[in-house]
């Protein structure tokens, strides 16, 4: 075969595949696909697919070692396996979106007004300084590290149905090590930015992440305990810690790296914060706005629609509704509970809040000069609030 023919054939196949994917996204109502499109368009603006970020780290000896060991986990129920899989291909979660946002923000803010040896115009690639690119990568490293650390299981809660205890122990060991490895690389990467303000800022984001995730861990073996006092104010605070702080502070840090002023830093922070909150609200809403699927999906009583619902109907009515939703075998019927919740205002309140945060994000980014990058960030903010 003529090599050129082969290449053209392969390219056309890829083109077909892509077009096929876009067709699917038009027909489905699911927001994530829309977000996928926005993200993939945005990647071109920053110069390369951001899924290649931290490739260097992933291909390191240590993580290759881990990958080898993780193969032994195949067939077990340790969460590390699904985290690892999800990292390689996951159409639902947007891969490396945080890093992308940091890159777009860097570009949208434009060149530095200061002269410095590490802020030379000739070092900019696609309008982004090397230090900002490194920061984007560091952000992803930290995010991934905590995805991995979140997957550690409490051995005391192990039961026979989880499979051999040895597998859980082994999976834990791999999770701790790989998470630590990613964090260590983030730390050395931060040091290389030669900016102690940024080191302090991002380190504080790590502290925030820990505190946020800590709240996610149920205190008793009985999950979804009824006695949890929670309202939307608390929900927002905790969710900011676990889902917003990292992006907010990274966006701010990107501005600091280019020595942009406090105003720019504040706007970038706001965008990161509100986008993250909007995104989390969107994600919590999926179960409640999608047309019902065959499988009854469980949901957390700490997800936004449920928390709103609990706040609106009050503790007493909520307990009553929980009772009603239990089957004869005292199992929770989540489908029934979901319908109950949809009858009240919990879902619509959440949608309103999501739109609020999306708009706040838009507000902030629109203070930056008009550009391709800014448009991409606007599109992302809008996509996150679409249902």
């Amino acid at each position: 075969d003529n090599p050129m023919t082969v290449i053209r054939f392969r390219l056309s196949c890829i083109g077909l595949l892509n077009r096929g994917q876009r067709n699917i996204s038009i027909f489905s109502n699911a927001t994530p696909s829309n977000l996928n499109k926005v993200v993939s368009d945005a990647e071109k603006i920053v110069g390369y697919p951001t899924s290649f970020m931290s490739l260097r780290c992933l291909l390191s000896d240590e993580l290759s070692n881990v990958a080898m060991h993780v193969r032994k986990l195949v067939g077990t129920k340790h969460p590390l396996l699904s985290t690892a899989r999800g990292f390689i291909y996951d159409s639902r979660n947007n891969l490396q979106m945080r890093g992308l946002v940091v890159l777009l923000m860097s570009k949208a803010a434009g060149p530095s007004q200061h002269t410095a040896s590490d802020l030379l115009p000739q070092d900019m690639v696609s309008g982004i300084y090397p230090s900002q690119r490194n920061l984007a990568e560091i952000t992803e490293l930290i995010h991934t590290a905590f995805l991995v650390h979140r997957g550690i299981v409490n051995l005391k809660e192990w039961t026979n149905s989880d499979g051999p205890l040895k597998d859980m122990q082994f999976g834990n060991k791999m999770s701790v090590l790989s998470g630590d490895f990613l964090l260590a690389n983030a730390c050395t990467g931060l040091a290389q930015l030669n900016n102690t303000k940024v080191v302090e800022l991002i380190s504080s984001a790590i502290g925030d992440l820990v505190q946020g995730i800590y709240h996610e861990i149920p205190n008793s073996l009985e999950d979804n305990s009824l006695t949890d006092e929670i309202n939307m104010v608390t929900w927002e605070e905790q969710t900011f810690l676990s889902h917003g702080a990292l992006l907010a502070k990274s966006c701010q840090a990107a501005m600091e790296l280019a020595k942009h002023d406090k105003d720019a830093q504040g706007l970038a922070y706001k965008y990161g914060k509100h986008l993250s909150l909007g995104h989390k609200l969107n994600s919590d809403l999926q179960l409640f706005v999608k047309s019902s699927s065959a499988d009854p999906e469980t949901f957390s009583f700490n997800s936004a629609p449920v928390v709103f619902h609990r706040q609106i109907v009050g503790q007493e009515r909520w307990c009553h509704q929980l009772q009603q939703a239990k089957t004869i075998g005292r199992q929770m019927d989540y489908t029934k509970l979901r319908s109950t919740i949809k009858l009240e205002k919990g879902v619509t309140s959440t949608i309103d809040l999501c739109r609020y945060h999306g708009n706040k994000a838009l507000e902030s980014i629109q203070c930056f000069p008009s550009s391709e990058a800014r448009s991409a960030l606007e599109n992302i903010a809008r996509a996150v609030t679409k249902f």
């Binding site: 240590e62 070692n65 060991h69 905590f146 650390h149 979140r150 550690i152 299981v153 409490n154 051995l155 005391k156 809660e157 122990q169 834990n172 060991k173 701790v176 090590l177 998470g179 630590d180 490895f181 964090l183 260590a184 690389n185 730390c187 050395t188 931060l190 040091a191 290389q192 030669n194 900016n195 102690t196 303000k197 080191v199 302090e200 380190s203 504080s204 790590i206 502290g207 992440l209 820990v210 505190q211 995730i213 800590y214 709240h215 861990i217």
Partner: protein
């Protein structure tokens, strides 16, 4: 076993570096008192046929070479010319106790660390504070503050700590503790320092988060010092700690590779923190890279010695003294110094090492072999050699009570029983 320090090194310029063994034998043929009592012949090391050595051959060639090639070749240096002060004998009484000297700086160390662990949720706070109860040895912060003072005096300043130096003492202890918390999860330990481990009480998930939080707080404190070089130096420690842990996952086939691997792992897991913390405090007060190197090398050598002794204690100490059960290393599948040495006398250990003592009965048999062999003695001897090198390095600094305390400290490392 006290090692009286009877000599004051004469300061000369342009002196060439000496081998570790020549150091032991003493300058210009004088032999130091400790050499005769504790030295073992290493006939296999090239060019070392000195008097005063026993002629018993010991297979330390590869190891000996490793020490020699990896130590820093430094010129004797001195920032300003100083009159020769040799032949003055320091009595033991004059040597200040390191703990006492460091006391005033370490007084509120743990309280100050707890202040850095600023967290709203009270349960997480108690997890983070758990090991900062003042019951730890505070060995690392002690070295750091003594090194800082010694460097300050060496740099023609008064001894008092700069604020950044004190931070580094705190940061080193925080990084150390964070890594311990994670290690306990990795090893599945239920006891540390006589207390139940965090993972045993609160579960693995919360324990890992607590470790992550302490690390983030250390990182923030580090950034606040405001020195990019110091940030780089200590961030390197964090990476070394993890890499050291990874190194423990694999086993080396080749015997000489195994020892090299063991020493490298020991550096990463234990010595790097001490070495780089010492280096960091020296950077804050002195711009001379030679001084940084002295501080680093002292820390490195003391750190390795410390771990070697620790590995010996795992075999020789009773459970009650350590606060945790012993033969832990074997049970974790790790082959440390005593085992690696014992392997030379009992080749049966090779297979056990390769399968990480996983077959039933391996741990007990290996322990027997080690106690029957001279593995413990050889490891102790090796630790001594590292201490000699540490002493040699630190002696390059201007005399001060703190410098002497650091010398005294190496002896304490060797003689501790827990």
């Amino acid at each position: 076993m006290a090692i009286p320090w009877r000599h004051c090194w004469r300061w000369t310029t342009g002196a060439t570096s000496t081998s570790v063994l020549e150091t032991i034998c003493g300058f210009n043929g004088r032999s130091a008192t400790f050499a005769a009592s504790s030295f073992r012949g290493t006939g296999a090391v090239a060019g070392s046929g000195k008097e005063g050595l026993s002629s018993r051959p010991v297979h330390t060639s590869s190891i000996g070479n490793y020490i020699l090639t990896s130590r820093h070749k430094s010129r004797l240096l001195y920032p300003t010319p100083k009159p020769c002060c040799c032949k003055r004998i320091h009595s033991d009484a004059k040597l200040k106790d390191p703990f006492t000297l460091a006391q005033k700086d370490l007084n509120h160390l743990y309280d100050d660390i707890k202040k850095e662990l600023f967290v709203s949720k009270s349960e997480l706070k108690s997890l983070c504070d758990y090991y900062f109860d003042g019951k730890g040895k505070a060995f690392r912060p002690m070295i750091v503050v003594l090194m800082a003072r010694a460097c300050n005096i060496h740099s023609n300043r008064d001894g008092d700590l700069l604020p950044g130096q004190r931070s580094i003492a705190m940061i080193s202890e925080m990084i150390h503790t964070a890594s311990l918390v994670h290690d306990d999860v990795i090893d599945g330990s239920d006891k540390r320092r006589g207390k139940t481990t965090i993972n045993e009480v609160w579960g693995e998930r919360k324990a890992i988060l607590a470790g992550d939080f302490i690390l983030s707080a250390a990182s923030m404190a580090l950034a606040r010092i405001g020195n990019n070089t110091v940030v780089s130096v200590l961030s390197q420690v964090i990476e070394d700690l993890v890499r050291g842990e990874f190194m423990q996952l694999g086993s080396k086939e080749n015997e000489s590779e195994r020892f090299k691997h063991y020493l490298e792992k020991t550096f990463k897991k234990t010595a790097s923190l001490i070495a780089n913390s010492c280096k960091a405090v020296s950077i804050l007060v002195n711009s001379d890279p030679e001084v940084h190197e002295i501080a680093f090398q002292y820390g490195r050598n003391v750190g390795i010695a410390f771990q070697l002794v620790d590995d010996v204690l795992d075999f020789t100490a009773c459970a009650s003294q350590l606060g945790k059960p012993s033969a832990t290393d074997l049970k974790l599948g790790l082959a440390t110094g005593p085992v690696l040495f014992a392997c030379q006398q009992f080749p049966e250990l090779h297979a056990m090492i390769m399968r990480r003592f996983s077959t039933s009965g391996d741990v007990d048999r290996a322990w027997q072999y080690v106690l029957e062999s001279d593995g413990v003695d050889q490891t102790n001897y090796l630790a001594q050699s590292y201490c000699q090198e540490a002493i040699r390095q630190i002696s390059l600094l201007r005399p001060s009570p703190e410098r002497d305390a650091l010398i005294r400290l190496t002896e304490m490392v060797l003689t501790r029983d827990k």
